[in-house]
């Protein structure tokens, strides 16, 4: 990707003469962007700013007045002893999803890199979960992981202990729901990794091989640098998506057992559902801040490493 952009810049400089001619009518560009900008500002920035205000009010379904209550909502949120736990669960879920989807898609991409009929069949097959609604995916896996489900049946057939109630285990449940999130997206990320692999110039691979590089060296020094942008994209998208995840958990555990899969976003919804809109805004503001704290430095550092390699 960076490679592409760089050469594009060169072309642009070479075309300066032509560009000068079109510069005359530059003033009208913004009209084309106007509808999109209108949506982004009206429906994203305005609500985001509004969120900042509403989070400090007592807006609820129980009263017609909306008054400023200062830091009270944050106080309420912090006083709930479960908040730290919910942050921990949200992060565990996000990291599990990112690890599972990236490992799966990385392996699949390397195995399916070559464009053969058989590989295309496998690519298409592994893509199917991407098309399922997260809710449907959740119901499917809660069937598989149920105490008498397919997983335990399979373990039993192999003579292994087969009475685990997977989703009823409060320590295990959050990893399982996170893994299902990763599973669902791995087919999509596989395609992105394959696309990144196809940007590796063939001459580069051949040159490395004729210099006596083995498979591992070609992989480490030739392919991996080209995969870096794909990893950046995949990790960011999974993490950001997983931080506001919700559907899969609703279908698989409904937040349980106990509170062991109740991530922050489920909290937002339950507060909203019971009419505490101000409090709910505070929780969602909290998630937003969490994303900013986590995702932005992450993207930054991944990008930097990308350029170094």
């Amino acid at each position: 990707m960076t490679q592409l952009l760089r050469s594009e810049g060169d072309v642009r400089r070479a075309n300066m003469g032509l560009a000068a001619r079109t510069r005359r009518i530059r003033g009208v560009w913004w009209i084309f962007a106007l509808p999109a900008l209108f949506v982004v500002f009206g429906l994203y920035f305005v609500p985001l700013i509004l969120n900042g205000f509403l989070a400090f009010t007592n807006w609820s379904s129980f009263s017609d007045n909306i008054d400023f209550t200062g830091w009270r909502n944050l106080q309420i949120l912090l006083d709930q002893s479960s908040l730290l736990n919910q942050i921990r669960l949200t992060l565990l879920y996000a990291v599990t999803a990112a690890v599972v989807s990236n490992l799966l898609s990385f392996g699949l991409a390397l195995a399916l890199e070559k464009r053969t009929k058989l590989n295309e069949f496998f690519r298409a097959l592994f893509f199917v979960p991407v098309l399922l609604s997260p809710l449907a995916a959740g119901y499917i896996w809660s069937g598989i992981l149920s105490p008498n489900g397919v997983l335990n049946q399979g373990l039993g057939a192999l003579g292994l202990p087969s009475n685990a109630a997977w989703l009823a285990d409060p320590h295990l449940a959050i990893f399982l729901v996170g893994a299902v999130d990763g599973w669902k997206w791995s087919g999509f990320f596989t395609l992105i990794m394959i696309a990144a692999l196809t940007t590796v110039p063939g001459e580069l691979k051949e040159a490395a091989r004729s210099d006596g590089a083995n498979y591992w060296q070609v992989f480490r020094h030739v392919k991996l640098p080209f995969l870096a942008p794909a990893f950046t994209y995949n990790i960011t998208v999974t993490l950001v998506g997983a931080l506001s995840a919700f559907d899969i958990i609703v279908a698989m555990t409904g937040g349980g057992p106990g509170d062991s899969t109740r991530v922050l976003n489920a909290l937002t919804l339950s507060q909203f559902g019971s009419g505490y809109f101000g409090l709910s805004s505070m929780t969602s503001l909290f998630v937003t801040v969490l994303v900013i704290i986590l995702a932005i430095p992450l993207v930054w550092s991944l990008r930097r490493r990308e350029f170094q390699s």
């Binding site: 598989i144 990144a196 909203f272």
Partner: protein
């Protein structure tokens, strides 16, 4: 040579085993259990039904979930949102890709906000409530468009940057107006990315559960995932897996059918779209 052949066989065996374990068995389990009676489905086995209850299950789910109505609602929301998103995304992408203005480039980065930050749902619902759109399909469409506009701008601008300028410049020299250049030259060139973006958006809108959950309470306006949730959350406690799975099949089948017919284009579209990002 033989070593290479063994390697090839091992690769295919491993891939097949993985495909069976993580794709085929889950899907098969859903389908086969949706054909069983409630008692038999509660065992969650993957063998064929001893007593077929397929017709009964599907008819029940069809009627109980008001399938046709939800299907129509899903199609409506998906199509209208996708067309709106493409309609505002394509010209913006062209402008962001071509303009050299610093101001517009700043606005481009600003409009990517939604790629990173989650949609502020509560205040958006608050706004929609104030203009009387909460609980309506128009409201859901507005919500849906807002949630995805950044992704669309991101995907399309990446593509538009790679388009050759020569044709546009030739047309500009000939005195064509910019809007005309866009419609007759740029838009046809953007066809691949329009298709990719449409696929990505349509899949995500079709499967969306979050928006409908916040905005739609009238069962007659429910989309398919919301219907699935309403039906399943009620009966899962009673472990009526035959109904839950029949509903999962009915919700997923429309996309899978489209995918089977347009599989190559979908996969290639998504890949092409991703490289440009």
């Amino acid at each position: 040579m033989t070593e290479k052949a063994i390697g090839r066989v091992v690769r295919v065996v491993v891939l097949s085993a993985l495909a069976v374990l993580i794709v085929l068995i889950p899907l098969w389990m859903v389908v086969v259990n949706s054909f069983k009676t409630q008692t038999e489905a509660s065992a969650l086995g993957i063998g064929l039904p001893t007593k077929w209850a397929a017709v009964q299950n599907y008819v029940d789910v069809f009627v109980q979930s008001n399938y046709f109505q939800s299907f129509f609602n899903s199609v409506l929301v998906t199509l209208v949102s996708s067309v709106l998103l493409l309609g505002i995304g394509a010209p913006a992408a062209w402008a962001f890709a071509r303009s050299k203005s610093r101001f517009l480039s700043g606005l481009y980065w600003a409009s990517l906000i939604g790629v990173l930050l989650p949609l502020p749902v509560v205040p958006l619902v608050f706004l929609l409530q104030h203009v009387g759109l909460q609980g309506t399909q128009v409201g859901l469409i507005v919500f849906t468009v807002a949630a995805r506009v950044s992704m669309v701008v991101f995907l399309m601008t990446g593509f538009a940057r790679g388009l050759p300028r020569e044709l546009e410049e030739a047309a500009a020299v000939d005195g064509a107006r910019r809007a005309r250049i866009f419609v007759s030259i740029v838009l046809p060139l953007m066809r691949p990315v329009l298709f990719t973006t449409f696929v990505v958006i349509a899949v995500s809108v079709w499967n969306d559960f979050y928006g409908p959950l916040f905005l739609i309470s009238d069962p007659n306006l429910a989309t398919l995932p919301l219907g699935l949730y309403r039906l399943s959350s009620g009966i899962k406690e009673a472990t009526a897996w035959n109904y839950v799975f029949a509903h999962v099949v009915l919700v997923s089948l429309p996309l899978i059918i489209v995918y089977v017919f347009a599989q190559r284009r979908v996969v290639e579209g998504v890949t092409a779209g991703a490289v440009r990002g």
